[in-house]
Symmetry: C2
Subunit: 195 residues, 2 copies
């Protein structure tokens, strides 16, 4: 048993790297970008707060697990900015290789269990995966709006790019999509997003 636990401890130590994968989004109370670990925490805790707005009933605990695990593959693949079309080209390949490498540190049945969380999130077919994907889009958007569109302005992002990006919120929550769409329309009016 000790060897099994030592192996799990090695995995736990390895995923500490989620604290050094920096995203494009700025946190609100300090001049730095947020880490994958922080983003995942934030998304996860949003689930019980917003679950009543899910289109379909969801298992909150399972949705939270999807949020916690969805970015683990970025430990080796790095964060791909959602508006970087070029980096997006080989994203799938890079992330798949990263998943193989990372999850092979675990023994069965955990290897399949954790790997499956990532696969389910990526496939986006279950109600839980759809709602987790909505959280993945709402979370950075709220921060970016609070920061007067800082990361959009910095990267010269167009309204249509964000509109396209948030369309996935609709699959998880029509209600949240409507409100977020209003917010980005205001952002365009303020000049935070290019026409």
């Amino acid at each position: 048993m000790n060897a099994d636990i030592e192996k799990l401890f090695s995995f736990i130590v390895e995923i500490d790297k989620m604290k050094t994968v920096y995203r494009q989004t700025y946190i609100l109370n300090e001049d730095r970008q947020e880490t994958d670990a922080e983003h995942s925490w934030h998304m996860a805790i949003m689930v019980p707060l917003l679950s009543k707005y899910s289109n379909e009933p969801i298992d909150e605990g399972h949705t939270i697990k999807l949020c916690l695990a969805h970015d683990l593959v970025e430990i080796y693949a790095g964060d791909t900015y959602c508006y970087d079309a070029k980096a997006g080209e080989d994203k799938e390949e890079r992330e798949k290789a990263s998943a193989e490498k990372l999850f092979s540190m675990l023994d069965e049945p955990l290897r399949t269990e954790i790997h499956s969380l990532w696969l389910e999130f990526e496939a986006g077919e279950t109600p839980e995966a759809k709602f987790a994907a909505a959280m993945d889009r709402v979370q950075p958007l709220l921060l970016n709006l609070e920061r007067n569109g800082r990361s959009w302005i910095r990267n010269g992002i167009h309204f249509s790019q964000v509109e396209n990006r948030i369309s996935k919120i609709k699959d998880g929550s029509e209600v949240l999509h409507t409100i977020i769409h209003e917010r980005i329309t205001e952002a365009r009016e303020k000049g935070w997003l290019k026409d």
Copy 2:
């Protein structure tokens, strides 16, 4: 409904402050201390990895929620270093006031739901709260061991203080406590902890 959602968005934005509460523990791949948001994410994802070692059967989803919410009160109360006896004196009072302030941003039933997560964690009586408390101790300990006892050395911590601190792991998992106790005994031998 829009007003309800705007209120929830305000709470979500407010708890971004968890990304600027810094703990004593150092992360592994950069020269900085970890944030409460990162610590909470790490603890939460440890639950499905280690739950089979819980003394009692636990609801993983609920345990994860306790992990995600357990440090929210530090947004206003700040992080109290677990080996700082002086700061520990008024910790309860500061955190209680912080909880009142923070959770009153939410409407019922969420106000009670989220507040209750914190109260349950603090009371430490349910199997889930006991296991979450074990994660709260195992997580920084693993990082500190990887960092050759850096935050212990920096703060002049004694073996008996850590031994006392980790005794709570036993309530959640006898097995994990035994292994962690072996690890800190080795740490003392290496001189990372004072006698």
